[in-house]
Symmetry: C2
Subunit: 189 residues, 2 copies
């Protein structure tokens, strides 16, 4: 299943078998049951994760209303972490939990830095990935502020085509920032 | 004035004089008058820019209402570009214009890639910067969706302490997603 990680990295730079074995040796596999937390608000977060199997949601809970705002789903082949807590070695301010049984590959900040220092290709991969992540987040900010519910819905279907049937409508509504009723209306069109 | 660029890079990794001279040789200086466009929607964008002097705003204009949404200011020591258009070599979908006379250092994608390949430290710098940019954008998304106008205002003052007196209240209101009246109310407190 680690082939999935190789394909993900090779979308940025091709690797020899030795290079990939070296990279993979820095990751540890972890299995989680449905509803388990990968990252929990208020706890230190030591790793970033690549999703091998299953689907997770990253969300912020409003301390006053208890409302959840889902800002990212992580399906197979996606990277998940609380990036701020991971880089700054602070406590997580978001939660990430499993929408179904999951398997992830985790890497610590120390190993990530070491790997980047010894393997230029990995450093380059991280650089390109971070920029693509920024672009996708910028699109999301733009759609939340200036886009209509319909724009956001259509963008979601393009971005996560396989997730649409896999994830509950309640979670999709939370991601889009709309009510369940609005989502049903968009869905029927 | 290029010392500003050196300080910016050295916040991530220290450089020798030779290394910095090599990096700097890939940049070209450009001066712009107040109101000039650095990036214009619909045009190809060939460079990313480091701001040496002045202040710019990056914004999206709503094609239907004509309303502007400012999603970033760029003061001295900030990086500015339409990241998606720059990386994907497509037409810009945002505008960046000068709030006052400006001077920037520009680097093309080709030179950026070349520099990253020959100079690991620069590749590392780009990687770290992109991740910090992601974190700051994520904070912005979170505040736009779950934060109050007061939260966003206070975050703005912390993030851009020097800009607060430099930028017009109309522009700050557009950045915060509030009306001029709401901003004045916050400002008086």
């Amino acid at each position: 299943m680690s082939q999935l990680l190789r394909t993900n990295i090779e979308a940025v730079c091709p690797l020899s078998d030795e290079e990939f074995a070296h990279i993979l040796s820095h990751f540890k596999s972890r299995k989680l049951k449905k509803h388990a937390f990968l990252v929990q608000e208020g706890e230190y977060l030591r790793q970033e994760y690549f999703v091998l199997k299953g689907c997770l949601k990253a969300y912020i809970a409003d301390p006053e209303t208890g409302n959840e705002f889902i800002y990212q789903f992580g399906a197979e082949d996606w990277w998940m972490t609380d990036r701020e807590a991971f880089f700054k070695e602070t406590k997580a301010t978001i939660n990430i939990d499993c929408l179904e049984d999951c398997e992830v590959l985790g890497i610590t900040l120390e190993d990530r830095n070491k790997l980047g220092e010894t393997t230029w290709k990995y450093e380059h991969f991280l650089q390109v990935k971070a920029n693509l992540g920024y672009i996708s987040l910028q699109k999301r900010l733009q759609l939340m502020i200036m886009g209509s519910a319909k724009d956001r819905y259509e963008h979601f279907i393009r971005q996560y085509p396989e997730l649409f049937t896999q994830i509950s409508k309640t979670h999709i509504a939370s991601y889009l920032g709309v009510t369940r009723e609005t989502l049903s209306r968009l869905y029927r069109r």
